[in-house]
């Protein structure tokens, strides 16, 4: 499974999200790779799932929107796990 965390610049929130998703997958023993990038270059990052905040999700390429999980919290792992579990595990 490949997941890409997306934000406006690809160096702030998406990086924190990537670190947390890495750690969640690790704790649950799920194999997967997590990358992060900015919304402008997301089409060069094919993935099974994308993770973004609402504003960024609105700017995602149309064909990725169905595979985009919207998270309102990028720092609290429990909140993220709860939301991700609806889609991923």
């Amino acid at each position: 499974m490949k997941i890409v965390a997306v934000c406006g610049m690809g160096m702030g929130s998406s990086l924190i999200a990537k670190m947390n998703i890495d750690s969640i997958l690790n704790e649950k023993g799920i194999e997967g790779t997590v990358e992060n990038c900015d919304v402008g270059s997301v089409s060069g990052h094919p993935a099974d799932w994308y993770v973004a905040t609402q504003e960024i999700a609105n700017n995602m390429p149309e064909e990725f929107k169905k595979r985009t999980i919207i998270l309102h919290d990028f720092v609290n792992k429990d909140e993220m796990e709860k939301e991700l579990s609806k889609y991923l595990f």
Partner: protein, 151 residues
């Protein structure tokens, strides 16, 4: 190892709106010579382009722009606001923690950001930030930010 210092933190700051709040957080990095005033303009431009997406959790804003010549060295500031302010992010307003992130190349800030992310991911730390004030609490926050968390 990258470390936070007490100059990166300020508590119970008064700000008139979200731009003022970002400016006041950025002022700490201007004072430590990490960024120039122009970086703040770049952050505002980013805000105008993408909206308040950088309010990444309830009450928490991580403001930044791209690496540019306005960044002299990597740094992250953190301020808490005396009165929470709306940034226009329906889910996560009002904001009371405003961080500014600066990176010279998109990578050199990662160690600091990881420390920040782990610190902010712990609910007790957020509760502590809500009531923290004075130099003693600044020192405590710096210690928590620099703590080595288990992987």
């Amino acid at each position: 190892m990258a470390k936070f210092t007490k100059n990166d933190i300020q508590l119970k700051v008064e700000a008139s709106d979200c731009f003022d709040a970002i400016q006041k957080s950025a002022d700490l990095l201007i004072a430590s010579n990490a960024i120039t005033e122009n970086y703040v303009k770049e952050i505002f431009a980013t805000y105008k382009k993408f909206g308040p997406y950088f309010v990444i959790a309830p009450g928490i804003a991580l403001a930044h722009s791209r690496p540019s010549k306005s960044v002299r060295h990597k740094a992250i500031s953190l301020i808490t606001l005396k009165s929470p302010i709306n940034f226009g992010n329906k889910e996560n307003d009002p904001v009371f923690i405003v961080c500014v992130i600066a990176s010279t190349n998109g990578n050199d800030h990662i160690a600091l950001l990881k420390q920040l992310g782990q610190f902010l991911g712990i609910r007790n730390n957020i509760e502590f930030l809500k009531r923290a004030e004075g130099q003693k609490d600044v020192c405590k926050i710096v210690a928590l930010l620099n703590k080595k968390w288990k992987e």
